[in-house]
């Protein structure tokens, strides 16, 4: 069941001294700090954030050596399926297998998929940004199919 407060529970757990000891983390007296899920300590290059990754994909695809799966939870409102589908399509790759539904082990539509030469794009139905958390069964099925090189 979706727990909207899960991040708080994780943060509480990760800051327990016994957890940090068990994980061999943060054990020096020089650098003890509170663990946070996301930090503001990192000052990340804004120009890198704004840079397009499409040329990187073009280079990876040209190498011809990698298998690529792009998946997208279709109720994410921050990086939604609409934009992802557009840039994937914009790569201009030949289509191997047209847009179609894929089924989960429970025979429900788990999402939709299109296979290009060198890249597979799959949506995950009713999953938000954190797909493996929100739709774990569907995501696990997608992962397994991809790793097993099943259609």
């Amino acid at each position: 069941k979706y727990d909207p407060c899960v991040d708080n529970e994780v943060e509480t757990y990760m800051n327990l001294p016994e957890v940090q000891k068990a994980l061999h983390a943060n054990q020096t007296v020089i650098l003890p700090w509170r663990w946070t899920d996301c930090t503001e300590k990192v000052q990340y290059s804004r120009s890198d954030v704004l840079a397009s990754m499409l040329p990187v994909y073009e280079e990876l695809l040209a190498s011809g050596s990698l298998r690529i799966l792009v998946f997208s939870g279709d109720v994410d409102g921050i990086l939604p399926v609409v934009g992802t589908r557009r840039w994937v399509s914009g790569l201009g790759l030949p289509i191997k297998s047209a847009w179609r539904p894929w089924l989960s082990p429970t025979r429900q539509v788990g999402g939709h998929v299109i296979e290009y030469e060198g890249l597979i794009f799959a949506s995950v139905r009713n999953a938000g940004h954190m797909v493996p958390y929100v739709q774990p069964e569907r995501m696990f099925h997608l992962l397994t199919s991809f790793l097993n090189e099943e259609s």
Partner: protein, 333 residues
């Protein structure tokens, strides 16, 4: 060295029986004193043959332990008490050995002894991550020949392809097998890839889901250039056109329409539009009491009321001498 990193039991869970787990630091730059923290869970099916999967959460600046390991695809999920764990019914280590990396330095427990390392971008993040993987293979040489996959979500839409390219190029220029990695593929979920396409995709998604008005959607489409957004942060590298662009009328109009969109969206869970947002228990019960006293209230106002209450309580809490108040653990921001 690997055995020193082995985790034999987890607090709130007990001894680990069905798979092996390791965690610790791998130095990626000895001169700077930069080390990245990892948690590694072996496949519980066949660690010898199953692939090795690196997982990265995004941000930039978010931990792969909080996201990946503890609440998405790791073997455990936290219980509501924050002190005990339950089993994840679909952990990825049923199918692969999974490596969760806190990257770049200063994320989670990763650190650097050089404070200026906090200023970072995609190139060094990719370089450090490759150095980490090479260091990992020295510590765990039995995984060197396993198929390697890179995976992640959100800003890992940058991390993953950039790291893949770093590895492909590194393999090409390797002087010895020690400098190569057996990269087989990548997986990215809801990835930030191209700001112009992704951000306009978000606007279209909001409009299609009746979350913003026709006028606001059209205003953004007509006025915004999402290739070039936002004010720069102090100390950051300067995009040549941004300072000028921010003063142009279209950019000001874009900003106003984006503000309007944020207002129309309301206090929604933007990461999952049909899911609830986290509202602290204290605020929930006060808001419920208010509803009972005043009768039915529109849902949006209800949430606003709860959020306002929680903000007020947070303020009161921070003013209080008792900093251990439970509200500090339930900050909705």
């Amino acid at each position: 060295a690997a055995l020193q990193d082995q985790v034999t039991s987890m607090p709130g869970w007990g001894p680990l029986k069905s798979f092996k787990m390791f965690s610790g630091y791998i130095t990626v730059d000895a001169a700077a004193g930069r080390a990245l923290f990892y948690v590694f869970v072996e496949s519980e099916s066949d660690p010898v043959a199953d692939p090795l999967m690196l997982w990265l959460n995004g941000g930039p600046g978010c931990s792969s332990l909080g996201g990946g390991f503890m609440s998405e695809l790791g073997p455990f999920l936290p219980n509501k008490d924050g002190h005990t764990l339950k089993a994840n019914p679909y952990p990825w280590n049923k199918k692969a050995s999974v490596l969760f990396l806190e990257s770049p330095a200063f994320v989670g427990w990763s650190y650097s002894n050089t404070s200026s390392d906090a200023i970072v971008g995609d190139a060094r993040t990719a370089k450090d991550s490759r150095a980490f993987l090479l260091g990992f293979m020295e510590r765990f040489p039995q995984f060197k020949s396993n198929d390697l996959y890179l995976s992640g979500e959100s800003y890992a839409g940058h991390y993953v392809p950039n790291l893949a390219r770093e590895i492909v190029r590194g393999n090409r220029g390797a002087r010895s097998p020690r400098e190569t990695l057996n990269l087989k593929g990548i997986l990215v979920g809801n990835p930030l890839t191209d700001t112009a396409v992704d951000n306009m995709g978000a606007v279209d998604f909001w409009w299609h889901h009746a979350m913003i008005s026709d006028e606001t959607a059209e205003g953004i489409r007509s006025n915004c250039d999402f290739n070039n957004i936002g004010p720069l942060l102090i100390g950051e590298d300067v995009l040549p056109t941004t300072a000028d662009a921010l003063t142009k009328p279209r950019v000001i109009a874009c900003d106003e329409f984006c503000d309007r969109a944020m207002s129309e969206l309301g206090p929604i869970n933007i990461y999952d539009i049909y899911a609830d947002v986290c509202i602290p228990k204290a605020a929930q019960s006060e808001a419920l009491a208010l509803t009972r006293a005043l009768g039915p209230t529109p849902a949006g106002l209800m949430i606003r009321a709860a959020v306002q209450l929680s903000s007020r309580e947070k303020q009161e809490s921070s003013n209080s001498a008792d900093s251990s108040s439970s509200l500090t653990d339930e900050d909705p921001s």
